[in-house]
Structures are given as C-alpha cells and as structure tokens.
C-alpha cells in the first residue's frame, strides 16, 4: 500500500502491505495568491499612496480644502499630523459617531477605488461559462480562457498586492513568511499505480504536526519527515489524474485546512481545481483554484491595523469594499450579497517523508 519513492534517486520503500500503489509526498513550501501584474492591467491607475487616500477620506469626513492643503504641506515636509492620524484611525461612522474603521469596515465611506481590468490572470474556468464570459481572464501559462479569478480583480491595483510569481506581492510574501514558520506544514500526497506513467491518481491534502523545515539559508528543506495530524478538519482527498508530469484534480470537491489565526483561522476552498507540475529535481509547483469566502481574507488583512496600513497594505477598509464588490459566488439567500470569491493560489512544494501520526516508521532501502 505504501511505497516511498524519491524520484531522481533509485530509492524505494519496502512495501508495508501491498505493492500495487506508489506514493509521493510533498510539503508545501510556498503558498500565495497567483498574480500576474503588468503595465496594462489597471486602466485607472494603481491606487494612490495611502496618505493621498487619507486626505480623500478627510475631505469626505468634512475637512475644509484649507485643512486638507495644510495637512498635505505638513506630510510633504515630514512633519507630524497627529490630528489627521486621529481622524483616520477613527474614520468609521456609526450613528454619526467615530468608530474603529478596521473592525467596522462597512461603516467606512466607500471611496470606490478601482479594481483590475487586465486580460491575463492565472486560474481555471471555475463556472464553466467558457472563453467569452465578461470579466474572465486568459491564463498566461495554459492560455485557457474564461478563467475566474475575481480575487485578483479586487486586489490587483493595490501596490501591496501587485507582483508576479517571481517578484512576489508584498502582502502575500509577508503573510506566507508569517505562516510558514508559525503553522504546521501543509502536505500533498499523490498515490497512483505508477507515478512515472500517466493514469489516475488520488491527491491528499493534509496538515502536519510539524512546521515546514527550512535550510539555514531559508530555502525549504528537502526530505524532511512529517507526521499527518489526524484532526478530520484538515484531511482532504480528491480524485485526479497524472498526465505528462502534471497532476490535475478531476472531481472538484471542498478543501478545508486549519491555518494560522494571524492570517486566517481556516483556509476553505470549494470547487477545488489543481494543476501541479512534478519537476525533475523532485519538487513540484502549480496552481490551486476555487471559490473561497472573502470575509476571512478581509479580516486577515485588517489585522495589520493603522501601522500596517501605512507601512504595508494601504487603505484597509477599502479592501472590504473591493472584496464585497467583486465577490462572485454563494449569494446570501436574504441579501443576495455574494459571500465567496473566485481565487487562484500559487503553490511550490518539496519532497518529504510523511506518515500517519500513529503509523510505524516506514523502512527505506536503496535498490
């Protein structure tokens, strides 16, 4: 039943039960929204600097043009603007009274900052509405059209969320930097008759007890051993297939993984799509898409507060309005507001040894 094979080496595990299946394990070593920012994807421009946004809020909240001009002069001069800071830190309004804008984003006036309107974006045609669906993307790698990735539309014109697979968006790089060392690793297990040939596979996505282990230079460590956490909330299995070294999921179910509350307590995805390339160096990379609830994404961003908003993310309540506007699935039966948003994540993974927490250690031998 279990046979561990390290692809590029002639290593195999002694069969424990039956020898019909071959298994390969990976630990996810990079996980973030898949972005493809370029010069032609925000026709109304990238969002202005956060200070400029603050001044717009100030105007909306009743500041006179003279006041706004004075603040602008001070900011330019590097002087402190404590009164503006106070106004901004309490820019939510409930019954006319100032409230915390990060915990009450719906109470903050919507500046209607634009979303992304480019043509290319990573992902999958989740709704099957085909190539000509308005607002859909073409995937830059597969060239598939009709790609649904509204999370990219919602956040894609904000500086902290712009980037490519190589130059990673600041927010996601920060988020993964927090996650990878502070939450148990996510594991991928592929099982099939012979993973060197095309054919059906099962794809397991689980959570480990251990954190992802890194090398001393910060790169992910190959061949570390992880135990699977038996907690049923993080056990997922999908039917899929392997073709030309690429694994895809063929039956699109739901995925649930516990995550770190710092970013989001859980990661949930439904109608899961996967495209995972198995690379010659035994690692893997690819994309995972589906619909995810958008409110947890907002709360993950909102955690940065006033300081993080200034230094990293930019206008936080603005994200609430953008996510809400671009949500494209799961309408609330009462309000009609969509509660989920189509999303695509980019994954990298390194080879690992994996066993169920209680199972005996498999023996490795070299043929």
């Amino acid at each position: 039943m279990k046979r561990i094979v390290l692809a590029s080496l002639t290593l195999a595990c002694l069969p424990l039960a039956n020898a019909a299946a071959e298994t390969r394990h990976f630990a996810i070593s990079w996980f973030s929204q898949a972005t493809y920012s370029n010069d032609h994807d925000c026709s109304q421009g990238v969002h202005p600097a956060v200070e400029e946004v603050y001044l717009r809020y100030a105007a909306k909240l009743g500041a006179t043009p003279q006041q706004v001009a004075e603040w602008r002069r001070k900011i330019m001069n590097g002087d402190e603007v404590r009164d503006l800071d106070q106004l901004i830190m309490n820019r939510g309004r409930i019954d006319g009274k100032p409230v915390n804008p990060y915990t009450h984003p719906a109470s903050v006036v919507d500046l209607s900052l634009p979303g992304l309107d480019g043509k290319e974006g990573f992902g999958f045609d989740l709704d099957g509405k085909g190539a000509d669906q308005p607002g859909s993307f073409q995937d830059p790698e597969t060239k598939e059209r009709g790609v649904d990735h509204n999370l990219y539309r919602a956040l894609g014109c904000t500086r902290a969320f712009r980037g490519s697979l190589a130059s990673r968006p600041t927010y996601w790089a920060w988020a993964w930097g927090q996650l990878k060392d502070s939450q148990p690793a996510w594991l991928i297990t592929l099982e099939g008759a012979d993973l060197k040939k095309d054919g059906p596979v099962t794809v397991g996505i689980d959570r480990a007890y251990e954190y992802l282990r890194s090398n001393s230079d910060g790169s992910p460590r190959f061949d570390m051993a992880y135990r699977v956490d038996p907690d049923p909330r993080s056990r997922n299995q999908f039917k899929g297939e392997l073709r030309d070294g690429v694994v895809t999921i063929t039956e699109h179910g739901k995925l649930r993984l516990l995550q770190n509350p710092l970013v989001s307590p859980e990661f949930n995805l439904k109608d899961v799509h996967l495209r995972l390339e198995l690379k010659a160096d035994r690692s893997a990379r690819g994309f995972m898409g589906g619909y995810t609830p958008w409110r947890p994404i907002y709360w993950g961003i909102a955690g940065v507060g006033f300081g993080g908003e200034q230094q990293v993310t930019g206008d936080v309540p603005g994200f609430y309005h953008l996510l809400k506007r671009y949500a494209d699935a799961d309408p609330d039966p009462v309000t009609g507001q969509n509660e989920s948003i189509s999303a695509t994540y980019y994954i990298e993974a390194v080879p690992a040894f994996v066993k169920d927490a209680g199972a005996p250690t498999p023996q490795v031998t070299r043929r």
């Binding site: 130059s167 001393s216 230094q311």
Partner: protein, 441 residues
Amino acid sequence: MSKGLNRRTVLRGMLGGTAVSVALPFLDCFLNTNGTALAATGGELPVVFGSWFQNLGFNPGRWKPATLGANYQNNAEMKVLDPFRDRINVISGTKYFLDGRPLETHVSGVQIATMGSLPLGVNSDPSLDTTIADVIGNRTRFKSIEIALSGGRQSLSRRKGGAINPSEPSPAALYTRLFGPEFRDPNSAEFTPDPQVMARRSVLSAVSEERKAVMQRVGASDRARLDEYFTSLRQVEQQLDMELQKPAPMAACSIPEKIEQAEPGRNVAAVERNNQLFAGLLAHAIACGQTRVFNMNFGTQGLRTPGGVRDWHSLTHEEPIDPQLGYQKDVTWFIEFATKTFASFLTTLDSYKEGPGSVLDRTLVLWQTDHGYARTHTMDDLPILTVGSGNGRLKTGLHVVATGDPSTRVGLTVQQVMGVPLNSWGRLSNETSKPLTDIIA
C-alpha cells in the same frame, strides 16, 4: 620541506592549512614595533570603536566594487566615500542565516548584525558594541554613547538579556550630557587608579612567586616552554602596570560650542544638520576622553524626500523599478543621501586633529545594514564596511569577498581586534570562529 622546522613553522603551517584563528597581539596598544612597552606619557591615544547602522541597504549591482583586494574602485552608490577609500574595507557576499526562524523583516537582520543571533527570550545575546565597551570603555565617563539620527529613540545597543542602552535623538541634549555642568576637564582631574586593576595586579604576584619552584621541578626542554609562559604572564602584568599609571594629558581636548536647540531629525534637512552636530560632539567627546564607543543608528523612521509623500521604507516596496535606470529612483536618492551623510560624519571626525593624527585615525567604524536588497528583503550578499584601522589593528583599503559565509565573521573580527576575548561569535549558522584574516593587521 627542506627548510628548518621549528614549532613556530609547524604552528603556522597548521594555521594556514586549517584556518584556525590566529591569536592576536592584544597588547599592541602598549607595545611599539620592537615589543617594548611605551612610556605612559608618550603612548599613542587609545582606540575607539563606533558602529553605524543604516537600514534598507544598497541596490544590488550598484555598490560592490568590481575588483578584489587593494585598489578597488568605488561603485556608484559608494562614490561619495572616495576620499576615505584607502581607509575603508568593503566586505561583500556574506549572509544572515535564519535557521528556520521566521524572517521578521527589518528586525532579524538587525539582530544578527548586532548580536550575532536571533534572540531567544530573556537569554538574548549582547550586541557587539557592548562587549567591546566592556573591554575598552571601562575607564571613560561614558561607557558608550548611542545616537538616533533620524528621530525616535531606537537603539541597537543591547546588554545580555535585552537591556537597551537608549539612544539620544537631540544634539542639544547630548551636548548637555557630555559638556554640561557635570563635565570635568580630564587634564585637570585627579587620577585614581581603577581598584579592579590594582587588585588584579596584586593577585598575579601569587602566580609569579611560583616561578622559581616550577623552574626547578621541570626538565630542560619543558623549562623553555615554561619560560615562554612566564614571559607571557609578565606581559599581562606590564599591561596592568600601564593601566595603573596616570595617562598622558589629552592635549587636543577642547570644549565645543554650546548647542542650544536642535529638533530630532525627522526630515532630511534635520538629519543633515544633526549629523554634523553629533559628529562634532563625538569628536570632542573622544578627544576629551569622555567615551571610546559610539553607536550611530541612522534609522529610517518616516524619512521622506523633500516634497515627497512616501517614506523611504514604503518606497522600497512600492516604487517601480525605473526601466531606463534599472533601479528604484527615489529609493536610490535615499541611499545616496544616507551614504553622503556617513561620508560627512567621517569627514568631521577626520578633521578633528590630535597631534599628527585625527580622531578618525584611532577609530574603527563598523557599517552594517538590515537587508541585502530592501525591496525583496534579501538576507544575502550584504554590504558591510569597516572604516579606519583602529590604531593599526586592521589593514584597510581592501575589498574582501566571503560569499555564503555568515556576516558574523566581520563582527567576530572587529571584536577580536578590539580585544574582546572571543573564540567564536554568533549562534547556529550565524556562529563563526573564522575572523577575516585578510584584513587583520
């Protein structure tokens, strides 16, 4: 192999082959080239250590000299340091290692640069300036002076366990601290020998008294070895004797003009002005024997271009790379501003003359930064500079490449030449026992 072999040759061969750290002559501040002790009154002025920390680094490809070793040419972002080139060592290629700990951007790098390790709770390691101050700063009025150049009171100087030496952001306040009512003219003050040194000197007599008995006990071959031991012991005693004598008068000591008012450096103009004021104060303080260790934290808190909206840090993440230039334009303006500020600081120290030399001549400044490339928070190919020879303890004017090595090799080197008794420095992958022998004089 035909050369005559003796123990020293063997030792040298061994050291050369396996890169064991060569023990350094810590006594050289008291010895001339003949190895004889200098009279206290004619002795050279004591060594000074300074650290300069500039966050947000340089641009890759724009700072590293193209050639190795001596006579390197400064690259674009270091051009402004040309007047000091033959006194600067550039160390490139080193890294900060996280060992699986999370990367706290702009924090982890600072910690490794200053403490050699990421802190673990209350057992955090001391920053290297404090270990140096423990050796060279004991007899001055201030063990060290910490300065925050661009506002705030952030200080990178930490004692073991995390106690922080707070920074002074205001030149006026620093003036009062140094030259206010509590200042005493060092040349008119009474000299009182350090009781610790007196006590240390006195107990060593018990060891010297063993000499006769030991020499009688051992055979002739061992006698030579023990003779070397006793000679070494005698040198330690002589060093203590020197410390017990009244030091030479500080002929160059003068009191600077009073600084009435100077706001902390929240904008570039203030930073520029305060840098001059701080440098001047430090030069006077050193010349008057008030301190021998200083820490300049350039910081970046909220520093903006004149008329610009965004601060330096935000720009590193947000500013697009200029397609013509190939780098971030506004970020680079800041880098050049910071380096210019550093050059002006060095100029001020160098223009304060003490006899034939300057304050800078007896100073060793260690320049470090938090990231190799701030835009993507890289932790490798870090720029590190040392300025000055520290009274001839370091060779200078060299570009040394130590690709993939821990940055702590530089910190170890600096601490060792300053006399800190360390065999190795740093923890886990940042630990090293290999000083940069290329730059040790």
